[in-house]
Amino acid sequence: MMIGSFDRTIHAVQMSQDLHDLLLHHENIVFRVHSIFRGSVNLLSHAEELMTIARTDVDMMPMGIKVDLPAHIAWPFEVDDSVVYNGQLEFVIPKNEIRIRLRNARVWRPTLSAPSGEIACASEEALSMIKKTLLELDSGGVSSVIRFINGDARESSCTSIYARFISGDICSFIDAVEAKDWERSLYQTELLVGFGPGLTPSCDDFLAAFILSLHYRNQWNHRDDQTLLSFLEGIVELANSRTTIVSYSMLRHASAGKASDSYLKILEALATHNLPELRRAIDRVLEFGATSGADFLFGIWCVQTIISRWARQEECILKKEDRI
């Protein structure tokens, strides 16, 4: 097995399948460093394709690679540096000639396969675990809306100005989705996309949870609900100009079932009724994404509650049919 040379080289240990596929079909792509965080760096190509380079303690993401760069070594990038993919499973930073080699990266799939066995809705216990976690958290993002969504607390008690401002619109959005009124849902989405603090504004994480959950429900149950799918695509279209480019990428990936590792783990744990796994996944999401994670969880709680209600109604209908 080849390992290759090591001069001023950073090694990737994991690479997402979609990035792998993209790179395989290109000889040369020039990226520009968009933003830098402690744990990750976002790059943007001329075609506005966003990719993420992360340290090993950060979650895998769609269009992402994980590199073996210890926490105490700073990223060798500055914002606006160019980073060139040279067609040989290698990125080069022309400024300092540092290379990132992908050759030994394990490929990671940014999507979920259908769980074996019956696919079920989230259980009561699972949903109340999420709710309890969020109530204890009070993150400051829009997830605080959960405190007064069924009248548990008064709006004025909420410390997040963002949450106070948006709670009404969130409730209307939830109602519209539950009614499967996709047209109204899309209209309500317009009032959410891009809202909230942070590089991925809180409401976008909330929406990502809806997109992912609905996408997989459709796929795993072999439904081919075109109106639902065009609603999901509609959200992405809306996001194109209304939010940050990082957030737009996240939503676009979500509509293809792609998301960061810990987001996918939440969905998987819910679908397989694996409560210990869910606990771990929740902790990971919160640790890693902080308010973003909380807002995603809040979205999961909302959409999965809706999905279980749908399932109960369908069961009733089926039972009625049985009787007939």
Binding site: I3, D7, V13, T56
Partner: protein, 57 residues
Amino acid sequence: MSVNELFKKELKVINMGLESFYEELRSQDVETIHVDWKPAAGGDKKMASLLGRLKGL
């Protein structure tokens, strides 16, 4: 430590190279340390050869 003595000891591994091997050992609770390895003198061939000459003394 001969091979047969090694068989009686708890394995303690120094990992040099791919980090995934280190992580897999850690996930099995094997005592291990990862070397943040770089070629001598950061790959500067001239310096590496000077160091080599001094080592050869």
